[in-house]
C-alpha cells in the first residue's frame, strides 16, 4: 500500500527546500547570476509542463515553444497596451492564451495523429505560431516587443512593488514553487493516475470506460497553460518578448532538461534545467562551446544513464541501501518510477 500522505509531504518538502535554496541565492550571487537563476526557475516549470505530457500521458510534443511564446506575447501586449489591467489579469490572459492554442491545435492533432506524427504536427504548429509572430506588426514582427514594465501589485490596503529585478525574482520563485507543487499534486491525483494509465495502455483504459482522447486533450491543454504561464511570468523579468522564444530551439529545451534530469522522475526536468543553466553559465565566455558541452553531456547521459541524472543517483542509492541490508524504502516517495 502506497502511503500517499507521506509521499505528498516529501514532495512538498522538496518544493519548499528548492524555494529556500533559490531564495538565499541572491545573498551569495551578483545580480547577473540572480537573473540567470530566475530564468532557471522558469525553465524548471517549463520542463515539468512538458514532462506532464511525455511521462504523464505519453505524448511527445516538439512544439512547446508555441505555448511559452503565446503566454509571453500575451503578457507583453497586455503590459504595453493595457497598462491599467492588473498584473494578475495579464498572467491569467497569458496562461489562457497557451490553453487556447493547446485546445485548438491539440483538438486537430489528437484527432488525426499519434506517436511520431503527433510530434511532427506539434512542430509544424509551433513553426506556424513563430511565423505568425514574425509577420504581425502588432507583435513587433521580427524585432519583438521591448521595454515591458515590471508591475506594482495593488492589494488595496498595501501594494507590492515588483519593479526591481530582485523583487521580481522572489515573485518568480514563489510562483514557480507553487505551480510545481500543484503540478505534482495533479499528477498524483486520481485524474493524474488515469492519464498515466492511458500512457501505459490506451486501449485497455478505453475499454474501462475512459474517453482517452478527451483526457489526452485535457493533459495537452493543462501542459500548454502551464508553459504559457511560465512565458507570461518570464516576460516582465526579461522585459522583452522576441520571436526567438517561439523558435523550435526553445521547444527542444524542455526535452533536453527532461532527458538530462530523467524522464521517469517528476523532478527530473528540474534537475536538468538547473544543470543546463549551470553549463550555460560556466561556458558563457567560451562561445559556441555551450551547445557542444550540452550535446556531449546529453550523449553521455543517454548512453550511460538511461534514467537521466536523477534516475542514476536514485538507483545508486537504492543499490547502496540493498548492499548495507537496510530494508527501508527510498524516502523520496516519488523515486518510484512514473514510467
Amino acid at each position: 500500500m502506497i502511503d500517499y500522505r507521506r509521499r505528498m509531504r516529501a514532495n512538498l518538502a522538496i518544493a519548499v527546500i528548492g524555494l529556500v535554496l533559490f531564495a538565499v541565492f541572491p545573498l551569495v550571487a551578483n545580480s547577473g547570476l540572480v537573473f540567470l537563476a530566475g530564468l532557471v526557475a522558469v525553465n524548471i516549470v517549463f520542463g515539468l509542463s512538458w514532462n506532464l505530457l511525455f511521462s504523464g500521458v505519453g505524448l511527445l510534443s516538439f512544439g512547446h515553444a508555441m505555448f511559452f511564446a503565446g503566454g509571453a506575447y500575451a503578457m507583453a501586449v497586455v503590459s504595453l497596451r493595457l497598462p491599467d489591467l492588473p498584473f494578475a489579469g495579464g498572467l491569467l490572459l497569458g496562461a489562457m492564451t497557451g490553453g487556447i492554442i493547446a485546445l485548438v491545435f491539440g483538438y486537430i492533432a489528437l484527432r488525426r495523429a499519434s506517436g511520431v506524427y503527433f510530434a511532427v504536427l506539434t512542430l509544424a504548429f509551433s513553426e506556424l505560431v513563430h511565423i505568425v509572430i514574425t509577420k504581425t506588426t502588432f507583435l513587433g514582427r521580427n524585432d519583438g516587443l521591448v521595454g515591458i514594465p515590471r508591475p506594482v501589485i495593488n492589494l488595496g490596503v498595501a501594494s507590492i512593488d515588483l519593479t526591481s529585478a530582485l523583487a521580481y525574482y522572489y515573485f518568480i520563485i514563489v510562483a514557480m514553487a507553487v505551480v510545481a507543487f500543484a503540478l505534482w499534486s495533479f499528477q498524483n491525483s486520481p485524474a493524474g493516475r488515469l492519464i498515466q494509465a492511458i500512457r501505459q495502455d490506451p486501449v485497455r483504459t478505453a475499454f474501462l470506460g475512459t474517453d482517452v482522447r478527451s483526457w489526452q486533450l485535457t493533459a495537452f491543454v493543462l501542459s500548454g497553460t502551464i508553459a504559457a504561464f511560465c512565458g507570461a511570468v518570464m516576460v516582465p523579468f526579461a522585459q522583452i518578448a522576441s520571436p526567438e522564444i517561439a523558435y523550435w530551439t526553445v521547444s527542444t529545451e524542455p526535452i533536453l532538461f527532461t532527458l538530462l534530469g530523467g524522464a521517469g522522475h517528476f523532478w527530473g526536468p528540474a534537475v536538468g534545467a538547473i544543470l543546463f543553466g549551470a553549463i550555460d553559465y560556466a561556458t558563457r565566455a567560451l562561445y559556441g562551446l555551450s551547445e557542444i558541452t550540452v550535446g556531449m553531456l546529453l550523449l553521455g547521459v543517454v548512453l550511460l544513464m538511461p534514467g537521466g541524472l536523477l534516475g542514476f543517483l536514485l538507483s545508486r542509492r537504492t543499490a547502496a541501501r540493498r548492499l548495507t541490508g537496510s530494508g527501508k524504502r527510498v524516502p523520496m516517495a516519488n523515486a518510484e518510477k512514473a514510467t
Binding site: 545580480s31 547577473g32 537573473f35 530564468l39 521580427n142 526567438e244 558563457r284
Partner: protein, 421 residues
C-alpha cells in the same frame, strides 16, 4: 571577561556575513587602479558570427592601441566577450550578467532588434552600450534612450548619402525597385531610400522618380528564387537592396543565373561591403556598396592604417569590413569618454560621451549630445568583377561624403521626418 566562540555565535556571525554580502562590493573597492573592463556582447556563434568576428578583432586591435599608448589615466583596458547569438534574449541575459559582475560599459550590438531592446534594460540595470552596426532610425528618434549610443553612421547619412551620390553620377536612371529584408533594419533602409529618391531626383533632374513597391524577403531563407522571379518582372533600371550577410550572398548567387543583374543598369547595396565580392569573386555583379569603413578611402590616417595592417596580420584576410572599424571606434569613444570624465561610472560616462569628439579609423567623429548619434563620413565604393585582379574583383571607384552634410537633424523622441532628407 572571556569571550568564547560558541556554535550559536558562529552560526549568527555566518548568517550576518551572508546577509551583508550583497552590500559589500569588493570589486568596486579593488577596481580603482586595476584594468577597466569593457563588455562585448556580439554574435560569436551562428549565422551572424562572421560579423561578430569583425567586431571582436576591431575591439581587440583598439584595446591594444590604447594600452600600448599608456592606457586611460594610467589604467589598462581589458575586454570581456559574451555571445549574443544575434538574439535579443541571449543578448539581454549576457548584458545583465556582465553588469551584475561590474562590467557596466558595453559595446558590440549589431542587430537593430537587440539595440532597441538594450535601452530600457540598461536604463534599469545601470549600464551603457555603444552600438556600431545597428541600422534602425528609431534608435536616435522615437526610441531614443540616453544609455544607448551609436558610434557608427546613422541610417540616414548612409542611405540618403548613397542615393545623393547615385543620382548625381547617374541622373538618367529614374526607375527603381528594391529587394528588402522583412525586418526593422530592412524597413528603415527602404523608408529612407524611397523618401530620398523621391526628393533628390526631382531636385537634380527636374523629373519624378518612379519607384516600384519593394520586394520583401524573409530573414535567413535559403531560397530566394520566387522573389527573384518577382524582381525580374519589375520594369526598373536600378535595384536597391539591403539584404545582408549570408542572406545577401545567397540572394546574389541565386539571382545571377536569372540574369537579374544584366537586366538592370545599377545595383545599389546598402551595407555588404566585401561580403558578396569575397564569396562570388569574378562572378560578383558590379555594384555600389555602402561602407562603414573603406581602408583605401582613409589611407594616411594612422588609426586606419594601423587597424588595416593589424587586421591583415591577425587574420590573413585582406578585406576587413567596416564592423571592425566601428567596434574599434567604440573603444576609442570609451577611451575618450573615460579620460574626459575621470570615471567609469555609468552616469559620468554618459555625460562624457555626449558631445565627445574622438579620432577613429574614418577620421574625426563627433557624438551629438542631443540624440547620442555620431556624425561621421559616409563611404561607398564601386566593386566590379576583374579578370586581372587576384581575387576576381576590384574596387574601381569610391567616395567619402562629409558626415555633417548628409546627417539628419537631431530629433530624439520624435519619429524620423522623411520630408527633411
Amino acid at each position: 571577561m572571556t569571550y568564547r566562540i560558541s556554535r550559536r555565535n558562529l552560526v549568527k556571525g555566518a548568517a550576518a556575513a551572508g546577509l551583508a554580502m550583497p552590500f559589500i562590493n569588493l570589486r568596486t573597492a579593488a577596481a580603482q587602479d586595476g584594468p577597466i573592463t569593457i563588455g562585448i556582447v556580439t554574435p560569436l556563434s551562428g549565422p551572424v558570427q562572421l560579423i561578430g568576428n569583425f567586431v571582436r578583432q576591431g575591439a581587440e586591435i583598439g584595446v591594444a592601441h590604447i594600452n600600448a599608448n599608456g592606457g586611460i589615466n594610467g589604467r589598462q583596458l581589458a575586454l570581456e566577450f559574451r555571445d549574443s547569438k544575434a538574439n535579443p534574449n541571449d543578448a539581454s541575459v549576457a548584458a545583465r550578467e556582465l553588469i551584475g559582475s561590474g562590467v557596466n560599459l558595453q559595446l558590440g550590438t549589431i542587430s537593430s532588434a537587440v539595440a532597441l531592446a538594450m535601452g530600457p534594460l540598461l536604463e534599469s540595470e545601470g549600464g551603457v552600450v555603444l552600438t556600431s552596426g545597428a541600422g534602425t532610425e528609431k534608435l536616435n528618434h522615437e526610441n531614443y534612450n540616453a544609455h544607448v549610443f551609436r558610434v557608427g553612421d546613422s541610417p540616414v547619412s548612409r542611405n540618403a548619402g548613397l542615393v545623393r551620390h547615385i543620382v548625381q553620377s547617374r541622373p538618367e536612371i529614374r526607375k527603381w525597385g528594391g529587394i528588402i529584408p522583412d525586418h526593422e533594419y530592412g524597413r528603415t533602409t527602404w523608408k529612407i531610400f524611397d523618401a530620398a529618391m523621391r526628393k533628390i531626383v526631382p531636385e537634380l533632374t527636374g523629373e519624378e522618380a518612379q519607384i516600384a513597391d519593394p520586394i520583401l524577403v524573409p530573414y535567413g531563407s535559403g531560397d530566394y528564387r520566387n522573389y527573384i522571379t518577382q524582381a525580374m518582372r519589375l520594369d526598373v533600371e536600378g535595384i536597391y537592396t539591403s539584404v545582408y550577410g549570408g542572406d545577401a550572398v545567397t540572394l546574389y548567387q541565386q539571382a545571377k543565373p536569372f540574369g537579374l543583374f544584366d537586366k538592370i543598369d545599377v545595383l545599389l547595396d546598402s551595407a555588404n561591403e566585401f561580403l558578396v565580392a569575397t564569396a562570388m569573386k569574378d562572378q560578383t555583379p558590379a555594384h555600389w556598396s555602402g561602407f562603414h569603413w573603406y581602408y583605401e578611402a582613409n589611407k594616411g590616417n594612422p588609426l586606419s592604417d594601423e587597424l588595416y595592417a593589424q587586421y591583415v596580420e591577425r587574420t590573413g584576410n585582406k578585406y576587413p569590413m567596416g564592423w571592425a572599424a566601428e567596434a574599434h571606434a567604440g573603444i576609442m569613444a570609451y577611451a575618450g569618454a573615460i579620460a574626459k570624465a575621470g570615471s567609469t561610472e555609468t552616469g559620468d560616462v554618459i555625460a562624457a560621451l555626449k558631445g565627445l569628439e574622438f579620432d577613429s579609423a574614418t577620421g574625426k567623429r563627433r557624438i551629438r549630445a542631443e540624440d547620442n548619434q555620431a556624425v561621421k563620413n559616409a563611404e561607398l565604393a564601386f566593386i566590379e568583377p576583374s579578370a586581372s585582379a587576384p581575387d576576381g574583383f576590384a574596387v574601381t571607384d569610391y567616395v567619402s561624403l562629409d558626415g555633417e552634410k548628409v546627417i539628419e537633424p537631431a530629433t530624439p523622441g520624435q519619429p524620423l521626418d522623411t520630408t527633411i532628407l
